[in-house]
Structures are given as C-alpha cells and as structure tokens.
C-alpha cells in the first residue's frame, strides 16, 4: 500500500442511495466511491445493511417484488439503477460470491464453464483454457485438475467456496462482490481465500462485506463502516483503524460496540 498517494480512479460511485424492502428502509442516503483495482471492505454490526448495499451493485434485489432503489450508482457515468439497464450484462461484469459455497449440481468443469456457456462460448478449447485460468486464479487448479469430471458437491467446503469464486472469475468480471465469503470456513481455507482476493486486485476491483474487523484490516485498502442503514465513515483502511474521525468508528473498531 506504499504508492497509493493520489487516489486511484473510481469504478463505481454510490450517490445518495436509499433502498427499501417494501416499506422497510434498509439503506439511508449512502454515498461512497469504489476505487478501481482496490479492495473496499464494508463493515458494521449485523443487520446494518452491508449485504443490502452489495446486492444493489448487481441488482440482485430485482429478483424479488416490492424492492425499491432511490438515488444512483454510477458506472462510467451511467446510473446502473435505471430501468432500461441490461441486467444480464451488468451481472456478468459484477461477479458475486455468497456466504456459503453454492456449487451447481454438475461437474467441477461444468460449474466453472457455466457462466461462459451463458455467454455462448462453446468452443471446447476456449472453454478448457478459461476454466483452467479461473481455477488457477482461485488457487484450486492443483487440487481439482484430476477431478474435473467429478460432481462439484463432492469437494470440501473450502474447495467449494474457491470453486464458487473460480466460477465467478471465469466470466472475467470487472468487479467482484464478496459477501462474508469466509464466514463458513476454517482458518486455513479463510487464509487461502484472503490471499487470493489480495492477488485479484491486480486485475479487478473488489468489494468485500465482512463482519470480521481483522479481516478488513488485513486485506482492504478502503473501509466503510455502516450502522442502521447509514454510512458512518469511509476512509483508507489505515485511517479507519488507527485514526478514525468519527467517535462511533473508534468505538466500533476498538470492539466497544457491535
């Protein structure tokens, strides 16, 4: 993190974003930038709206009725929350990894190739290349290269989560959205995934929800603290953890509430 003096460009800009589950206000006027090729952590006590914010980026909320966005999220100066946005394309450029591994009921290879096939990539050699690349990026290749035809549900939990990551990486998204993706894993698997997330920022931008503050401190460049749907403080991770401007941030990072 040495040469980050001038802030890098923003890939996403959240402007006055509010979000409603029916009548329930879950995000209240949130504004923050997401910097390109950096890791941004979203932290805060359970129920503060981290997942809700993350799921705005790829419009996952659109799957369910009565959800409503207000405000904007700008990407290349277009508001991705507009009605006429191509959600399919949006989702393949913002990949998401969930709390728990979600292997599809098919082989390891087919899992990774799934998103590619959705994009109509059928050429077997191209598929093989891209699957291998994604598995290597997710630090899983060596463990599964002889088991590509086996059902993915037979892998261990940690392997399944890296499979979920590889599957998302295969479609080469610009942004990766991680939602507490290590919360169901043992420390060694967690370590592997943290390492690979850090490696990934060379090629893409990362937004990671975590309720583990040490994890946020270890891996992220920027950190946003949220509380009851509002953004409390956003800054470089170092500042948030060592010289927070807000009293509440100070209490939260020192473990006095949350």
């Amino acid at each position: 993190m040495a040469e980050q003096k001038s802030p890098p460009e923003d890939i996403l800009n959240v402007n006055n974003l509010s979000f409603y589950y029916g009548k329930n206000l879950a995000l209240n006027q949130v504004t923050l930038p997401i910097r390109k090729n950096r890791i941004t952590s979203l932290i805060g006590p359970s129920g503060c709206g981290k997942t809700t914010l993350l799921r705005c980026f790829n419009r996952m909320h659109d799957l369910y009725p009565n959800n409503r966005y207000e405000g904007e999220i700008l990407m290349n100066s277009h508001n991705i929350l507009e009605k006429n946005v191509d959600i399919i394309a949006l989702r393949s450029s913002l990949g998401m990894v969930f709390q728990k591994p979600t292997p599809f009921p098919m082989s390891v290879f087919d899992n990774i190739a799934y998103g590619l096939k959705l994009k109509n990539i059928r050429n077997q050699n191209t598929l093989k290349e891209k699957v291998e690349k994604a598995l290597r990026q997710a630090a899983l290749w060596d463990e599964v290269k002889d088991r590509l035809k086996e059902n993915a549900t037979g892998l261990s939990g940690g392997q399944q989560q890296r499979l979920s990551i590889a599957r998302t990486l295969a479609v080469e998204p610009m942004v990766m959205l991680f939602d507490e993706c290590t919360s169901a894993l043992d420390p060694i698997s967690t370590q592997k995934i943290e390492d690979l997330i850090v490696d990934l920022k060379e090629e893409m931008t990362i937004v990671a929800v975590t309720h583990n503050m040490q994890q946020a401190a270890r891996i992220s460049d920027y950190t946003a603290l949220m509380y009851i749907g509002k953004l409390v403080e956003y800054d470089e991770t170092d500042n948030i953890f060592t010289r927070p401007k807000n009293k509440m941030t100070e209490e939260y990072v020192s473990g006095r509430f949350g």
């Binding site: 790829n58 996952m60 799957l63 009725p65 399919i88 394309a89 989702r91 393949s92 990949g95 998401m96 969930f98 709390q99 728990k100 979600t102 599809f104 009921p105 098919m106 799934y114 998103g115 959705l118 994009k119 979920s164 599957r167 998302t168 479609v171």
Partner: protein, 305 residues
C-alpha cells in the same frame, strides 16, 4: 402417582407397540395373500401363471399376463401424459404465478389430489369416455390408424369410449396433482443462494430453472414420480369404471382391456375355488410391484429427518 420414569416407560412401550402392530398388519396381509394364492400358484406354477394370457372361466385356466400388461401399460401411459403437465404446473406455481394466485391455485391442486378415485371413475365413464369416443378416436384412427404395421393399434372401437387409453388418461389426471405438488415442494427447497448464483453469472429465469433448479430437484422429483406410479399401479375404482374389463388380446389402444385391479374389483364377488385363488395371486403380484416401487422411491427421496 406414577413417577416420571414410569410414565416415560409406558409411553415408550405404547409407541413401540403401535409401530410393531403396523409391521404385523403388513406381514399378516402378505401371509394371507400367499396362503390364499397358493392353490392357484401350485396348480399353474408361478412362472406359468405370469406368462399365461388366458383368463377362461369355463376351461378353468387363469393367467396374469393380460391384467399385468394392462396394469403396466396403463401406468406407463399415465406417467408419460402426467409428468410434463405436472412439472409444468409446478414450474408455473413456483416461478411464474403472481403471488396472489399462488395459494389459491396451490390449494386447488391439493384438493384435486384429495378427490376420491371413484369420482374420477364416474366422471371418466360419463364424461371423459364419450368425449374420447366422439372427438379423440376418430381423429387418431384417421391419422395414426393409417400407418403401416402399427396402424391397427390405433383403430377406433365402438365401445362407448371405454378402453385402455381412456383408463390411462383418467389415471394420468388423477396423478397430476400428486406429481405437481411433490415437484413444487422440491423446487421450493432449492436454496435462494443457489439460484442467485446462477442469476449472478448472468443467467435468465429460464436458464436458472432448467440448468439449476430442475437438476437440483431431480432426485426428489424422481421419488415423487415413482410413488405416483405406485398409485397408478394400484388404482382400482377409477380404472375399473373405464377400462371395460375385457379378457381378450389387445388389438387397439382404444380397446377394452383389463388390469389387475379391474379384474379383482369385477370378479371378486362371484369367484370361487381356482378363480378366487388366482385373484389372490394377482393381488400378490400387485403387492410385490408396489413394494418394489416404494423401495425404489426411497432410494431417490432425500432422507427425512
């Protein structure tokens, strides 16, 4: 006053007694079937009984071949007709149906499953069979009926619409709600996160449905379909009304034919001696077939905990 441990003890023994008595009843039925069918099976030989087509009162020759094929064919046709409709219904209910309609339609499907089968039989005889005779048979025999070799098999008959195909379709209608509600439950059990993973990769609703939701529910659906087949195999009243119960070679899919259950329902009252024993032998075969279906279904259905 009973002590707590004594109460527990009594409760436990009562539960154990209930469980054991269920087992004993099943065993008792099996024993009855074996004992009563013994004379026929000894007279004809088990394999011979299975492979004999005749069912002839005056010659006293009884064989299971026709009722058994009738049962198997009608069940298979019923499944082929019912599965697509039922799965389509389940897809509609879980993925397409507006929220407000979901409960009423779901309840209607369950009600359909609760209608006593004799009502399906009466409806089949009074409404569906005439419909088949008037509208379906002429069309099918005018088209498929002209095919070389197999054409004869699609010729209409003049029996008021009663016959194998009519019975199969009434069976199909009976098992649709059953397969539909099992499939719907299976679809509902697919974790949201799994579906969202597919959506997150840029899948559409249909891609998610066909490539993730249905494969994930495959086993539960297969189990449900086998249980439905078990019901179709053993269904009596709906079939007995509309199959015609004729002991003759099957010349057309529209012809009256027989199934194990239709023979039993029609002849049990007047049978005696060898015929009676042969009916029990049919019952034994059905019992075993259903038993196999349940074992097969349990292999597919996820263990209940």
């Amino acid at each position: 006053m009973f002590s707590v441990t004594l109460k527990n003890q009594i409760f436990k023994s009562m539960c154990a007694f209930s469980a054991v008595s269920v087992l004993l009843i099943v065993l008792g039925m099996l024993i009855t079937l074996v004992v009563e069918s013994f004379p026929a099976l000894r007279h004809f030989g088990f394999l011979n009984f299975l492979t004999t087509a005749d069912w002839n009162y005056s010659k006293e020759i009884f064989g299971a071949l026709r009722p058994l094929t009738g049962t198997v064919i009608s069940s298979i046709i019923a499944l082929i007709a019912a599965v697509p409709v039922a799965v389509g219904t389940a897809i509609f209910l879980t993925e397409l149906c507006p929220d407000k309609l979901r409960r009423p339609i779901g309840t209607a499907v369950e009600l359909l499953a609760a209608i006593p089968s004799i009502i399906y039989g009466m409806w089949g005889l009074l409404v569906f069979a005439p419909f088949m005779e008037k509208y379906v048979e002429p069309v099918v025999s005018a088209s498929l009926g002209n095919l070389p070799i197999i054409g004869n098999f699609f010729q209409a008959n003049t029996q008021g619409g009663v016959g194998l195909l009519t019975a199969s379709l009434v069976l199909a209608i009976m098992i649709i709600p059953f397969i539909a509600s099992i499939s719907r439950d299976a679809f509902n059990q697919v974790p949201d996160m799994l579906k969202e993973s597919a959506y997150g990769l840029g899948a559409t609703r249909w891609e998610t449905l066909y490539q993730v939701v249905i494969p994930y529910s495959r086993n539960a659906m297969a189990g449900g379909i086998i249980i439905a087949m078990g019901r179709a195999l053993g269904e009596t009243m709906a079939v007995a009304y509309v199959i015609g119960n004729r002991h003759a070679p099957l010349d057309s899919i529209f012809s009256p034919y027989s199934t194990i259950t239709s023979v039993m329902a029609n002849e049990f009252n007047e049978a005696a001696n060898l015929q009676m024993s042969s009916l029990f032998a049919l019952a034994l075969i059905l019992f075993l077939a259903n038993f196999l279906a349940i074992i097969a279904a349990n292999r597919f259905l996820p263990a209940k905990k």
